[in-house]
């Protein structure tokens, strides 16, 4: 079976301008979403605070839970129905600078008072202090930056400096758009999402590597041709592989997204967007940069 027929010649380079426009609008959309939501929607890992997931024995009214929690003197408690037949809820409390550290204990006491001890089960508690949250935020940013630079450096070392720059820009592009998609969906940005972004960085550069590898090989073979022609031929030759590899990755990610449960939902979503965009960007972000660089060189 063949998805891409051999000898396919799509003139990718010709559509570079449109691709740039497309990328720019995606990035603009991401930034717009960041602006609209007032930054990333940090989960408890980064914002600090407490999340408690509880499951009741029988369907429970969300208003009753809110009323029970009103007795606890904590501002901005939010209750979210997890859609398990009205049994399961997520309760969020922001980090308090001065308040008592045992928000989850107080909350459980309030719920026990209203519904009784055996009525519910605490499935998960996550509490992150403000100091830890800030620390994790800094570390996450550093990790993403460091990974981008290091992989760009590796590509520059293995191929040519301009390939490295192309790869690094493509990666930054993918990460930004994946984060933007999370923001648009109003999904929480937590530690697992950072894990997903780092995976996107490591995986999406694969496509770039394959394309660059082929460009280098073809540059030796086709000395008479223009660089644009070399790039076009290289992308076409590797297109089948690019699509199939991303395709199998997307298959397993969709299975994680649908079946993996609430805990890794945001993780799977960030991977899905990141890897899809990463496939496109290795064709349309890295190559134009290499081409642009070459034209600049010739002009000088």
């Amino acid at each position: 079976m063949e998805l891409i027929k051999p000898g396919t010649t799509i003139d990718f380079v010709r559509y570079t301008k449109w691709a740039l426009l497309f990328s720019a609008s995606l990035i603009l959309l991401s930034c717009g979403s960041f602006w609209y939501h007032g930054g990333l929607n940090y989960g408890v890992d980064f914002a600090g605070g407490t999340v408690v997931q509880i499951r009741f024995n029988q369907p429970t009214n969300i208003a009753d839970i809110r009323r029970a929690l009103a007795t606890v003197n904590i501002a901005n408690i939010t209750v979210q129905d997890l859609g398990q037949g009205g049994n399961e809820f997520l309760i969020r409390m922001p980090a308090s600078e001065s308040g008592s550290q045992d928000l989850s204990t107080q909350m459980q006491q309030a719920l026990t008072g209203q519904f009784g001890e055996q009525a519910f089960e605490v499935r998960r508690i996550e509490t992150v202090g403000p100091r830890v949250g800030k620390d994790l935020r800094r570390k996450a940013l550093l990790a993403v930056l460091f990974a981008t630079v290091m992989i760009g450096g590796y590509i520059a070392f293995r191929f040519e400096p301009r390939f490295g720059v192309g790869a690094a820009v493509a990666l930054a592009h993918d990460v930004l758009i994946a984060a933007g998609a999370l923001s648009l969906m109003n999904m929480e940005f937590d530690l697992t999402v950072v894990a997903a972004l780092l995976t996107v960085i490591g995986f999406s550069v694969n496509d770039t590597v394959i394309v660059c590898d082929r460009i280098r090989e073809n540059m030796r073979k086709m000395r008479r041709e223009t660089l644009a022609a070399v790039i076009n031929k290289s992308i076409n030759e590797t297109l089948s592989r690019t699509i199939i590899t991303s395709g199998t990755a997307v298959l397993v990610i969709i299975s994680l997204l649908v079946l993996g449960g609430e805990v890794i939902h945001a993780f799977a979503f960030a991977l899905l967007v990141g890897i899809t965009v990463g496939t496109y960007s290795s064709i349309y972000v890295a190559s134009p940069i290499i081409l642009f660089w070459a034209q600049e060189d010739r002009r000088r």
Binding site: M1, Q101, R158, L191, T192, T199, N206, R241, G247, A249
Partner: protein, 523 residues
């Protein structure tokens, strides 16, 4: 050529056997004796997010530890000055430094001599706030470091003692960095109780209740609770106490729970060491008729009246607690006080039911995702696809066996990492197969196509796996707990992928070529 194939085949077979041996303990519930004697019995360890449990990051208040040490040094300095008959010198701790006020130049010189001889760890600071005739002293760098190290090690030790007595299987208490302690309690049923037990500083003090309950210069007011004898309700009471601490918890040799009687609830009996016994006898003898308050972490538990001199080194803490609370109180008193208060900076608790659901969801997405990839590869690449699928299967076996062999922790993101490896591992075979198709299209023979396919695809395969490995390493460095579990499976998966997808599949082709069975490549 043929010899090379034999050796390679032996290597692969040996590794598969080893992998299966390492996997058996994780999948067989009860191992026979002979197995345990000869073979590894290590299992894949499940993370707290899968087996349920509590993870706590504790922050040790080192500032407070330093202040406590300064207080002790102030006391020692006062005693030394008394012994040297230097009068009129005031020693007081102000925040993070000691202030020493001397009345005359003569006294100042004498004090400086004492400081130089007996307190070399204290150095003078020229803080601008220091007034005339006043010295400001702080610990020098080495002493500060030693103190912090001591506070952390001591906290670790105390917490280990407390948790050991709490009765959790395989608890882990570890130091992290310069001021944090990580506590992991797998399968814990009552995290709230554990938190209360761990978070208590457990500083036990004995102080006298001020006479007539009047305030004054050397008194302080502390809160306590007592049960109203009429209604049985708990109510808050305040006590006015003399500031001077008569005895502290360091003289406690043992603490036991005594069951409740008809007249009162359960209480905790303290067995004091020799020094404590003498001290307690002296205190009770000198203050018959007064009330002695027993204070834990600045809360008054009880303040009984001293009826007579108490010998024998036994004291009891009564109060209004149930048997569970009394037991936990005995644990913290036995394990001793923390040198400084700790705060819970991070908590992650997963209940057993969520852990079970996560395992099921993880396995389900593994099976579904894996099947999709396996079917796709066969449809798309025919026999070459089957070969890639065998490689993927081997890959999973090696990956799990490596996890078991290194006793790495498997978390939910870790399972996601394995699922992802399924999808990404075939990339190497896709690259090789695409190359082979190209070579075949160019009219090459089966043998040449196989060789060119592997040779040409290898650099790209290595490059792409190295970059993913690099980001996995960064993730490992950055992450903690579950995320780290993901980084581990991702990185191990990459190594096993290169081995199975390149080395093992090549072996199959070479075997077929060597036997001249391979005339056409099915790809």
């Amino acid at each position: 050529m043929r010899k090379g194939i034999v050796y390679r085949a032996l290597l692969v077979v040996a590794l598969i056997v080893a992998a299966v041996i390492y996997l058996v303990p994780s999948f067989v519930t009860s191992l026979p004796d002979w197995w345990v004697r000869f073979f590894p019995s290590r299992k894949i360890r499940l993370g707290l997010d899968l087996r349920g449990g509590t993870y706590l990051l504790l922050n040790v208040d080192l500032e407070k530890a330093k202040e406590n040490a300064l207080d002790q040094h102030a006391e020692q300095l006062r005693r030394a000055l008394r012994e040297e008959h230097i009068a009129g010198v005031e020693v007081e701790r102000v925040g993070q430094s000691l202030r020493v006020r001397t009345p005359t130049q003569e006294a100042k010189n004498a004090t400086e001599k004492v400081l130089a001889e007996q307190f070399p760890m204290l150095t003078m600071t020229g803080a601008p706030a220091v007034a005339e005739g006043e010295m400001a002293l702080v610990f020098d760098r080495r002493e500060t470091q030693r103190l912090q190290e001591y506070a952390l090690e001591q906290s670790l030790e105390t917490l280990r003692n407390r948790i050991d007595q709490f009765g959790v299987t395989e608890p882990s208490v570890q130091r992290q960095g310069d001021q944090d302690i990580v506590v992991q309690l797998p399968g814990i049923q009552d995290p709230e109780r554990a938190k209360a037990l761990i978070g208590k500083t457990a500083v036990l003090e004995f102080k006298l209740v001020a006479e007539n309950g009047t305030g004054g210069e050397n008194t302080e007011i502390l809160n306590g609770q007592e049960r109203d004898p009429l209604s049985g309700q708990m109510r808050r009471v305040t006590y006015t106490l003399e500031k001077k601490t008569l005895m502290t918890g360091d003289v406690v040799a043992d603490a036991r729970v005594r069951p409740s009687t008809e007249f009162e609830g359960p209480y905790v009996e303290l067995v004091l060491n020799d020094r404590g016994a003498r001290l307690f006898e002296q205190i009770t003898r000198e203050h018959v008729g007064r009330r002695l308050a027993i204070i834990l972490d600045n809360t008054v538990y009880s303040a009984p009246v001293i009826r007579e001199r108490i010998g024998g080194g036994r004291a009891s803490i009564t109060g209004s607690f149930d048997i569970k609370e009394a037991r936990d109180l005995a644990i913290v008193l036995r394990a001793g006080a923390l040198p400084a208060p700790v705060t819970i900076a991070e908590e992650r608790t997963v209940g057993p039911s969520l852990g079970k659901d996560s395992i099921e969801q993880g396995i389900l997405s593994f099976i579904v995702g894996g099947s999709l990839v396996v079917v796709f590869m066969v449809v798309y690449y025919k026999w070459a696809g089957v070969l890639a699928d065998v490689a993927v299967l081997l890959n999973v076996i090696f990956l799990l066996a490596t996890l078991a062999a290194f006793e790495a922790t498997l978390t939910l993101p870790g399972i996601a990492g394995i699922v992802l490896t399924l999808g990404m591992a075939v990339d190497a075979n896709v690259l090789i197969n695409e190359r082979m198709r190209e070579e075949l299209r160019a009219g090459k023979s089966a043998r040449a196509a196989v060789e060119a396919g592997y040779e040409r695809a290898l650099p790209a395969i290595l490059d792409s796996n190295i970059t993913t490995f690099l980001s996995g390493l960064i993730l490992f460095q950055f992450g903690s707990g579950p995320v780290r579990g993901f980084a581990v499976t991702l990185c191990i998966g990459i190594i096993t992928t290169v081995f199975t997808a390149v080395f093992c599949t090549r072996l199959v082709y070479d075997t077929l070529l060597a036997r001249r069975r391979l005339v056409a490549v099915s790809v």
